[in-house]
Symmetry: C2
Subunit: 388 residues, 2 copies
Amino acid sequence: MAEPSVAAMPAAASVLERLYVVVMAGGSGTRFWPASRRERPKQLLELIADGPLLANTLDRLEGLVPLSRVFVVTAERLLEQTRAAVPALPPAHVIGEPIARNTAPCLGVAAAIAGAHRPDAIVALLPADHHVADPEAFRRALAAAAVASDGGRITTLGVVPTYPETGYGYIETRGAEATVGGAAHVDASAAEAPRDVVRFVEKPSLATAAEFLSGGRHLWNAGVFVGRADALLAAIATHLPALDEAARPLLALLSTLGPAALHAPALPAALSELFARAPAISIDHGIMEHLKDLRVVPLVAGWSDVGSWRSLLDFGRDDAGFVRGDVLAEDCKGCVLVSDGPTLAALGLRDVAVVAHADAVLVLPLDRSQDVRRLVDRLAAAGRGELL
Amino acid sequence: MAEPSVAAMPAAASVLERLYVVVMAGGSGTRFWPASRRERPKQLLELIADGPLLANTLDRLEGLVPLSRVFVVTAERLLEQTRAAVPALPPAHVIGEPIARNTAPCLGVAAAIAGAHRPDAIVALLPADHHVADPEAFRRALAAAAVASDGGRITTLGVVPTYPETGYGYIETRGAEATVGGAAHVDASAAEAPRDVVRFVEKPSLATAAEFLSGGRHLWNAGVFVGRADALLAAIATHLPALDEAARPLLALLSTLGPAALHAPALPAALSELFARAPAISIDHGIMEHLKDLRVVPLVAGWSDVGSWRSLLDFGRDDAGFVRGDVLAEDCKGCVLVSDGPTLAALGLRDVAVVAHADAVLVLPLDRSQDVRRLVDRLAAAGRGELL
């Protein structure tokens, strides 16, 4: 039986036409070297599906939020590549951060821009570089969060855990203890019922993660936050007054010009002021962990944060594991074999990542995926900037 | 104490000025793919020392045989690359085989050419693609073989085994049972005393190889043969009459024109006739195994046939194993890490070969080095000739 979509519900419809999405695409990092480089960070890579992760993130919104209500915030030096990765998005909807200041300033920008479009706008902040196997389920959860946040309470998405992951942060909830852990046991409507957030929990030990999994009250923090523009600005004013202060020139510009401010010559100066004076802190630490009335919508959608080469193994459909590009694999198991250039011929490998690019080749056991950074650090120390 | 060189002995001097060397550089093969290709076979690769193995082979003769008495026989399609690899050699000294017919025809060509220079020439046939750590010891052994063969008996070099290799052919000897196995126990003068050959032994089992090693009577067949031109031609006439027949046009041309025949327009036709009609058989099987009076000079010179990627491990001086090219290795042991193009970054690997070229990358466990051919066969079957 087909489930009714949230958008089809009368109460939801009036909320969803006020839903704006801001995608945080400022990430940099070394975990996907040699595919990722300073000028081509993870969100611009084509890793699992067709197209860059950022484009996958926008495609996931199709039918829920039109691109006229979607914005992308990235590093200023990545503006050109980012616009090229999402050519259907109006160029003025890709906004450059003059300096990196973690994610909290982006929340300010998002609330300000959406609020300039309409005071009762609801804003969803999404990471640009995650993978979701079931976009329809993701849209349902996002819509449910939008509806839930229309009353003024900020809402986050929490992934229903499927195994005791120790590398993620968790969100402890109350109000849905009947839903016992494991995605297979959760039906979609139960998954999308908002729960109250008790607290954020840092990366747990394996034993603790196993308790979380069986307890059914803990969800993975997916870094997705939804709230009314005015509620988000109020939360910033309360918990990060320095950011509130730093955002004033931008807010003034937007209140004077409305959405046209995105094309205004004064925009870069307002953004520079905001980022230069904003504290460098995450949305989680700076705001969400301090809220008493935060809610969370459980998400069952085959979510992954695509955190390392190893994570790609979950998406492998080849006997050899995850295989992408011009790869010839013979008697390989549990491997991640990726080529973006040279023909990669692999034989007799177990649990190994091989990533071949024209100018650099990486080979390591998958259980050491996190050590890519050691190699990148050594290349940096050796002055091999052309590879970074 | 410096040992007297063989060339310094009065008896040897008159022999050595009659010594000609013919290097067999017709090899093709897949064991060093992706470094080796159809148009760049192993002997043209720079694997261990500086320069191609063929150039190393010629350099090894320095001070013993001048290039005016050195010839290289290669495949006709490799003439240009081969001449480029040994630019100091007169171009006419690089002779092309019109078709591949194993090694026996090359013995006919060698004996004919050397005999045309002088009837009492002594010819040494050498493989082009071996490695020798101690060239001086190699020269002494070759000189000893030349002196030993001046009486008319053909002489081969046999490597004193250092471990129970099962991948080589062995030569059983008599006449030096006092020399007990293991190179460390053999002094150089004893090593160079010729022994009588009892028989050739095909690749042995490990148990048999261990017996050979401890018995002290078995040597590795290094594929090096030394004999007077007239003795070699007589052996061909006796054991390979079809080759004797096929070589007549070449012999006639050489006896008419002498060494100038190398520049004669009629040379290609004479070579074509020889190779078209010659039986395709090795020097070992076609001739040497049938000789009753063959002798062998033991060789202790750090010899390797460089048979696979794995064999390079013997020449590794890096913590990671054998490392060549732009390689960054972190916590790797017992590996062969070679790049001829992309930067190769390897971490946490054990006993693995990674070979990175601009257009192809190979990764396999070293104990499966022999399986490279399976990958090459699959590439061929897939129509990927550009990589072969």
